[in-house]
Symmetry: C2
Subunit: 287 residues, 2 copies
Amino acid sequence: MKEIITKVLEGDSKEVLKTLTDNSIDLIVTSPPYADRRKKTYGGISPEHYVEWFLPISKELLRVLKPDGTFILNIKENAENGERSTYVIELILALRKQGWLWTEEFIWHKKNSYPGKWPNRFRDAWERLLQFNKTKKFNMYQDEVKVPVGDWASERLKNLSKTDKIRDTSKNGSGFGKNISNWVGKETVYPNNVLHLSTECNNKNHSAAFPDALPEWFIKLFTKEYDTVLDPFAGSGTTLRVAKSLYRNSIGIEILPGYIDIIKRQIQEKEFLLFEPNTEYEATKSK
Amino acid sequence: MKEIITKVLEGDSKEVLKTLTDNSIDLIVTSPPYADRRKKTYGGISPEHYVEWFLPISKELLRVLKPDGTFILNIKENAENGERSTYVIELILALRKQGWLWTEEFIWHKKNSYPGKWPNRFRDAWERLLQFNKTKKFNMYQDEVKVPVGDWASERLKNLSKTDKIRDTSKNGSGFGKNISNWVGKETVYPNNVLHLSTECNNKNHSAAFPDALPEWFIKLFTKEYDTVLDPFAGSGTTLRVAKSLYRNSIGIEILPGYIDIIKRQIQEKEFLLFEPNTEYEATKSK
DNA sequence: GTTCCGCATGAATCGATAG
DNA sequence: ACTATCGATTCATGCGGAA
């Protein structure tokens, strides 16, 4: 069995990324500091300067990513003075100009979003998961993230009519045809581009940790075992920990020394688990 | 009891809008033709020219909307040749430059999204509902759209409630205000900015009708009875019909004569109900 | 008058093939 | 090479007719 390497690098992504090799990363998953948020820890980048702050970093990301790799950017603009900031959509346009392809925008629907309301808006319950690629041909392992079929199936497929058993071409010229009988016994289906995940409230010691399920989904979808995952804003190390548990190599960069210790402790725990007999770890692996 | 007026105007929105009075509209809810869609019926606007096509129309919308009114724009960019089009986010930036405030972006999560499978992407299951305003102080009646606990928050819920709601609406045209009020005893909470609604695929005689619940939600949230709702791309007239059933005046503009007839028939049906003795209609009204 | 169940269709997208 | 057309793929819902 090959060894899984989990590297944690301390420093500013803009600089540290320069030490990484061209075309060496299979997947980048990251949640950078949002503009004007968490000023205490990251100093806060203002919305006006966000794009110019991000572009030198994304330039390096473009260099280190393999041609068939994928870049997932988790971000959401805040509301300020009654309006949504535009820096995120400006960033999309700027990244395209830099050479990235804007392949898709997934929605992360936060089921248990922060409670509260304001006179002019409701709770914000979603974030963007922007997918960028270097080329149109990238690796995507769709079967790895199939989900249980909806409840409708058991009823719908109970009795099949005549047209259900043959390929029945739609009459409206959409070109859409179906053969219902192909669906019988199907237990999983392909998901869509809306993810329903809860935010985790558990004590990550990091102000904006995303749930394990988020990097997990993308790591399974866009990499295979022994591939390499990069998180240039590692924070408390969620991406690295998940990558390791899924047998992916990973590299994390974090500017705050305090978090470096937290990350290393997390990795350590995994190490411990790895050698402990009969853990959930193995169970997960075999499933 | 005051009279509800529902006007249907035939013609190109860009021109017809000029005949409307300044600051006379409380809410604009519309779903314009998307770029490169529905070519057969509407001719299709190319992504490259979409913004310049839309701006003259939105300029008139800005003029006719009251200072405390709201503009809701339902739209979603398509994917072509492996990439998402950028015309929608360019439109957001252009509208701001035109004087609109980009207040919020709601997500419409389409539970029954179009099927299909591709090597590089999953099914697209969401659309944007962009909220624009003229000023920071706009009318918002948040209590009108409160939902029972669990209905909105929990994903698990299999919605007999919603199905009943819709069916009820189609029978008596009351809108689901009545149904919500039946949830007495249940604790209600404010919703968030993610809407879970299914597309209605039958009967509408229009290739892209949105479900009644969509305009319903925004009409209740941003207007009160006897206010005026405008839909500059009326299509099969869903917005007008719902507005009328909620006791709002409304104006619809539609360029295709064929749809004008459909809209008028829909309004007519409502009219009939109005004069039928002893209907649920009155009961709803008195609540 | 209700409930149940059959079933068409929906703002889709890509790759291959033809002109 | 570049554009136009066509076939293949596939999930969940609400309507309408039957029981």
